[in-house]
């Protein structure tokens, strides 16, 4: 069945079928690409997804609104906090409530930390997949420090289950100031060192510039969002365009690329990390100006029974637009919950992107898209 549709226009004898994944060092998580190659050139690539399908949307229909928060951790596990917040905001929107200012600021701080951590992993892994191991460690060591902050905030490192519907569960601990002051220069240094090791490295440039170029028009047609879209030259960031969580009050840039190649995606992520640091600084300053006893939670009933209706709410996660469509029938469980994962839309353009490129480029492209199987397969 797969063979037939895969080979439309080609005959089997002409090409070598290479099964990349689901268990392969470059297929992060459990992705699988069936590639037809002519020598080293990919003639046709067919991504097979679903190896990590856990039926999250079906599960949601059998869970109460609060019970589902931990499940959202398992979507993009590199930045679980963003998933949590996206889901919580969708339910808040459905209930017609808004989290208090302080909770929003804490969310911003944590989300931006998660964004840095996510980009660090993505850039690091891109390096590893292109054979440059060392930057990965520089970045991952600092990610570890970010995880320390998460751990000390709510006890979890990777699957944070951050926040509650209507706000956050706890205030930032007192020594966040000190922790952030310690972490900040190290983060900048790690980003800087990675930049020095990679950006102007001749081999790195050869491997990334012009590889899997994608035009802005195509990217929009394929539903790209996030860094991959910005790398194509489209200045779209939901934090600016559809502000939520007071993002309109922060001063930050939206970095864009030009050609939508691997290099641009890498550069956009690198610069976004720096912007995130700026946002955290500002958010923390605003946070400190708030009274210490400002509320952390909106008025939320114990049992959440949103009125019947359906809303879609999306936020800008490190990968792009992560949206939750929640349909309620008035009971304590969502009637239908649809997750719109960003890399799902991006990854479907993968065959188009890698057509005619080499196997090594296929790997580079995949890592630069930052496809996370958790949110891809749900």
């Amino acid at each position: 069945m797969l063979e037939d549709s895969c080979l439309s226009g080609h005959s089997t004898g002409d090409y070598v079928k290479i099964n990349i994944g689901p268990s392969h060092p470059a297929m992060h998580g459990t992705l699988r690409v069936v590639a037809w190659t002519d020598g080293e050139t990919v003639v046709k690539a067919d991504p097979e997804i679903g190896y990590l399908h856990r039926g999250v949307e079906k599960l949601a229909e059998a869970m109460t609104y609060h019970q589902f928060i931990p499940i959202t951790d398992r979507l993009n596990y590199c930045s679980a906090i963003c998933n949590n917040v996206s889901y919580e905001m969708a339910v808040e929107k459905l209930m017609g409530i808004e989290a208090p200012e302080k909770a929003q600021l804490i969310r911003v701080i944590m989300m931006e930390l998660a964004r840095i951590a996510d980009h660090q992993v993505c850039v690091g892994i891109l390096g590893v997949d292109l054979g440059a191991f060392t930057p990965f460690f520089y970045l991952i060591i600092q990610r570890e420090e970010i995880y320390e902050i998460f751990e000390w905030y709510n006890g979890a490192r990777l699957t944070n289950t951050f926040g509650r519907i209507g706000g956050v569960e706890a205030d930032l601990p007192d020594d966040f100031d000190q922790r952030w002051r310690e972490l900040r220069p190290n983060l900048i240094k790690a980003i800087d060192e990675t930049d020095k090791l990679l950006t102007h490295n001749r081999i790195w440039m050869d491997r990334t510039i012009g590889v899997t170029t994608f035009s802005a028009e195509d990217a929009l047609n394929w539903g790209f969002t996030g860094p991959c879209l910005r790398a194509c030259g489209v200045k779209r960031d939901m934090r600016k365009d559809e502000p939520y969580c007071m993002y309109d009050r922060f001063d930050f840039e939206v970095p864009t690329g030009k050609h939508g190649d691997v290099f641009d995606r890498y550069m956009v992520r690198m610069r976004e990390m720096e912007e995130s640091i700026k946002i955290i600084d500002q958010a923390y300053k605003m946070y400190k100006e708030l009274p210490a006893d400002a509320p952390l939670m909106a008025k939320v009933p114990k049992a959440i029974r949103p009125p019947a209706g359906e809303v879609y709410n999306a936020i800008e996660t490190p990968n792009g637009e992560l949206g939750f469509f929640v349909k309620s029938d008035g009971s304590d469980k969502p009637y239908r919950l649809k997750i719109r994962p960003p890399c799902y839309m991006i990854y479907q353009a993968f065959p188009e992107m890698v057509k005619g490129e080499m196997i090594a480029d296929l790997v580079a492209c995949l890592s630069s898209l930052n496809v996370i199987a958790g949110e891809l397969d749900r």
Partner: protein, 346 residues
């Protein structure tokens, strides 16, 4: 002492020495990587983790030896041997010191000083490709065969600039014997420069060191085993000591290549501006020359590690492009200029 006994001792010594370096190199690689990468690395087995290679060796030896069901059995076992054997044999003509006088008998610190040493080294260097292609083919795995093919193309392409770069060296020193080339690098020329290959052949040196990295399948030329692309390349299906032989062969190759770089371009056992033989006794001179040589080799071994953890990997077509479009023309130009210079000065 009989000549054959001396030869035997030299063979055993060089074999053990190379083996030892290869073993230590696995440790240096891992500790060096962790040093560069801001982490600890293996530090539990023995002081500074020095016994880690031993543990690795025991692990490799005691692991189950798996031969894939559909593999070509004979070729599958032959692969690692074909790979490791030339690596060891190449060292036979590489000097590891000048000479030592024991009991009035002068012993050359080289297994055999054959007058076609240069050809022998280049010939054996190209033999390694058989081990890789046979292993890659016999594994009956697409990644293996891809790795094998990549390696074949790469090794064959880079043989050419390697040979051309060395040819310029032989033009300058007028001999194919490695020992004579080494001996000729004593003293200075033009008054200031040591008589080393690197000063006479700067371009040749760059060509040689780049091709050496390609011949050794090291980053940035590690495409045959590019982990993120083709799993492990030609040794994907190998395990236990067969894999160990491949890894070992690689380190021995590094050792040989470093020794060649030192012999051809870095004045072998000579120190710049100092003639050790003039003020050292015959025995201590022998030891000193060995140590100097070893130190230089260690530096280049470390350089291999250093480069590996610094740069990314080339793409297949870029490797080919670099080889054919840059290195070979440069090597030809280098050879031409060298020949011209020699013609004009004589």
């Amino acid at each position: 002492m009989d000549d054959w006994l001396i030869a035997l001792i030299k063979v055993v010594f060089i074999w053990v020495w190379v083996l030892l370096i290869a073993v230590i190199m696995t440790w240096v690689e891992r500790r060096g990587a962790s040093m560069i990468q801001d982490r600890l690395g293996p530090n539990r087995a023995g002081p500074f983790g020095l016994l880690q290679p031993l543990a690795d060796g025991i692990k490799l030896f005691t692991k189950e030896d798996i031969v894939p069901d559909k593999a070509k059995k004979i070729l599958f076992s032959l692969g690692p041997i074909l790979f490791a054997l030339p690596a060891f044999s190449a060292y036979a003509v590489v000097p590891f010191g000048d000479k030592i006088v024991l009991g009035g008998k002068e012993i050359i610190l080289q297994v055999s000083d054959i007058n076609v040493g240069f050809l022998y080294v280049v010939a054996l260097g190209s033999m390694a490709v058989y081990g890789i292609i046979v292993g890659g083919w016999a594994s009956n795995n697409k990644y293996s065969i891809l790795g094998g093919l990549r390696s074949t193309a790469q090794l064959i392409s880079y043989e050419v600039p390697l040979g051309l770069a060395l040819l310029a060296i032989t033009l300058i020193y007028g001999t194919f014997s490695l020992r004579e080339i080494a001996l000729a690098q004593q003293g200075t020329f033009l008054g200031v420069f040591p008589n080393w290959g690197i000063f006479k052949q700067p371009l040749g040196f760059i060509l040689f060191i780049v091709t050496a990295y390609a011949e050794a399948n090291r980053v940035p030329f590690d495409l045959p085993e590019a982990e993120s692309e083709i799993v492990s390349g030609y040794h994907t299906e190998y395990g236990s000591m067969r894999l160990g032989l491949y890894l070992f062969g690689e380190y021995v190759n590094l050792c040989t290549l470093s020794a060649l770089i030192v012999t051809f371009y870095f004045g072998a056992w000579h120190l710049p501006y100092i003639n050790m033989a003039a003020f050292l006794g015959p025995i201590s001179y022998g030891i000193a020359s060995f140590l100097v040589f070893f130190l230089k080799v260690s530096f280049f071994l470390w350089l291999f590690v250093w480069v590996r953890w610094t740069v990314p990997r080339f793409r297949y077509d870029q490797v080919m492009g670099l080889g054919w479009k840059a290195l070979i023309p440069l090597a030809l130009i280098n050879l031409f200029i060298t020949a011209l210079a020699i013609q004009l000065t004589i």
